[in-house]
Symmetry: C2
Subunit: 336 residues, 2 copies
Amino acid sequence: MNYTIKDVAKKANVSIATVSRILNNQKGYSEKTKRKVLEAIEELDYHPNAIARGLINKKTSTIGVLFPALSSMLVTELLAGIEKAAHQLGSSVIVCHTESNGSKTMKYLQLLNEKRVDGIIFTSEILKEEYYEFIQKMNIPLVLLSTESRAYSVPYVKVDDRHAAYSAAQYLIKKGHTRIGMISGNQNDLIAGKPRIDGFKDALMDHGLSVDDSRIVCSEGFTFADGIKGFKKMRQQAAEVTAIFAASDEIAFGAISAAYQQGIRIPEELSIIGYDNLSIAEMSIPPLTSLAQPFYEMGEKAANMIFDMINGEQLVESRIMPHSIMERSSVAEKEE
Amino acid sequence: MNYTIKDVAKKANVSIATVSRILNNQKGYSEKTKRKVLEAIEELDYHPNAIARGLINKKTSTIGVLFPALSSMLVTELLAGIEKAAHQLGSSVIVCHTESNGSKTMKYLQLLNEKRVDGIIFTSEILKEEYYEFIQKMNIPLVLLSTESRAYSVPYVKVDDRHAAYSAAQYLIKKGHTRIGMISGNQNDLIAGKPRIDGFKDALMDHGLSVDDSRIVCSEGFTFADGIKGFKKMRQQAAEVTAIFAASDEIAFGAISAAYQQGIRIPEELSIIGYDNLSIAEMSIPPLTSLAQPFYEMGEKAANMIFDMINGEQLVESRIMPHSIMERSSVAEKEE
DNA sequence: TTGTAAGCGTTATCAC
DNA sequence: GTGATAACGCTTACAA
């Protein structure tokens, strides 16, 4: 297997140049030779070598995607979206797992550079100066997914976290809750942590509710364990709370578990709203009402942006993706 | 950026051959020239072009991985394991999402062929003749992950599903249960469906329990929805059952949800054991006891096998990975 | 120890 | 229309 263009040329009695022209639908050959060549290709089951093509075209039809964590559930949806869009446009995607580690990230960037990928999608993390500079030098398109950069002007695809958090809190308020708590992610996380806290506070203030810091418990991350810990802390600090906004579905799951152990009924005694709307959200007891991020579409969008840029589009606009609230059963009306 | 070997050669006043030798730690140069060249490389921040290398070496340091579904949670763990091992060995991984679709799969195989990947990991699906033949023609290593082939002799990495299911059922039996049901996957699924049913039946028989078909409800797949449906059916057909073996964690989650709605307490009134031990298993109420498959390690193993094969190892042995039971709180002792 | 030159499988620029 | 032929950036005989 794996004949070359030469074999085809020989078999069809033409030059390799002609075969190449036909392969790339250029002009410069008669219908007859075209048929002849196509036949030869068919017979040999010839397929062009993408590596050789890449070498001369300086285009590999491959993009690189960097994830801080692979096993997080939202990653798979992002990846599925990216992969779909990429495949539709004839490209492949190489996944890189940086573990939020600076030197690993740089190593991956090196690798992607050596492999001459056409573009890079950088997800869910702060774009450090070092990364940015390196990618600048690589001179290929970059888009940020589920993150953004204050420092550099790089197109991104993201939900407006502050606004989304605002919506989530507002939802709780509209349901009649006035004593609302939040189990947040890390407040030093400027991408996914802080903005959600800010949005939460904004909503309270805009609706004339006082913001009591003891009702906001900050976790280290967005995990199930953080949710459990956070919930316990909340009960100690602010037992009066009737509704909780969890900064991720996993946190919400943790909170639900902890609540169950303490014999607190959800949503009768306590309402909980999650964030992300991962597939697990429907699996909790009760099913989790959650602020939905359209991860799949975000992945698709980011990939499409990268390809626009690869194809020379100059001004690619960042996209704030619409969020929404997926109502299930973990939030109850609060009667006055 | 992106100098070539030529630039380095010029800067160091040597031929490109010498640079190449040094790059590949071959012999044939003095320490002095080596230093000179290394310096030039450093100064220019030169990095070899992997595409050009790939063309001549016929080795791209890239492998392809085919997944039927990306968004399933076990995929991420498999992928994480694969990616880690691949990266450690200096390779990249291209992910392909076949959606269990024959023609899509073939298209991906074509693509991977054109991109000249060094090997392919095929996961969680039946290896159809068409796929196998094609990969044969590609003439690159193939390993099966979380699946195996009766028809062809292809190395695989897998848990022994029949045995694992046996263990799960046995665990329930050892806990004193005698009326045990199973919510299985699709019985026509010869990889993940049938063997688990068989193992379940075996265990019952070996322990002198009668196998009652009404206590085995077959679903279409392994999803949460299947679990809910399956559970309801189970209650109708075999309400006497005191323990249920769910063929996946998602099914178990569905069953738990349905049980909760019917006011059935777990594990007091009904025990449930899951299968897979995904990260969600710890998140259920009560935390799910589950038969654990070491997905991460399986991914790693499969990748290592591929590289062994790429490096010329002739006889690579298939690996049956050890399963185990992750005890949590969804199974109770059954008193006589 | 080092350099020259022929590939690897393409595409693209010339001539004819 | 068509065919040589020079790139692309590298590795590797083969010479020197």
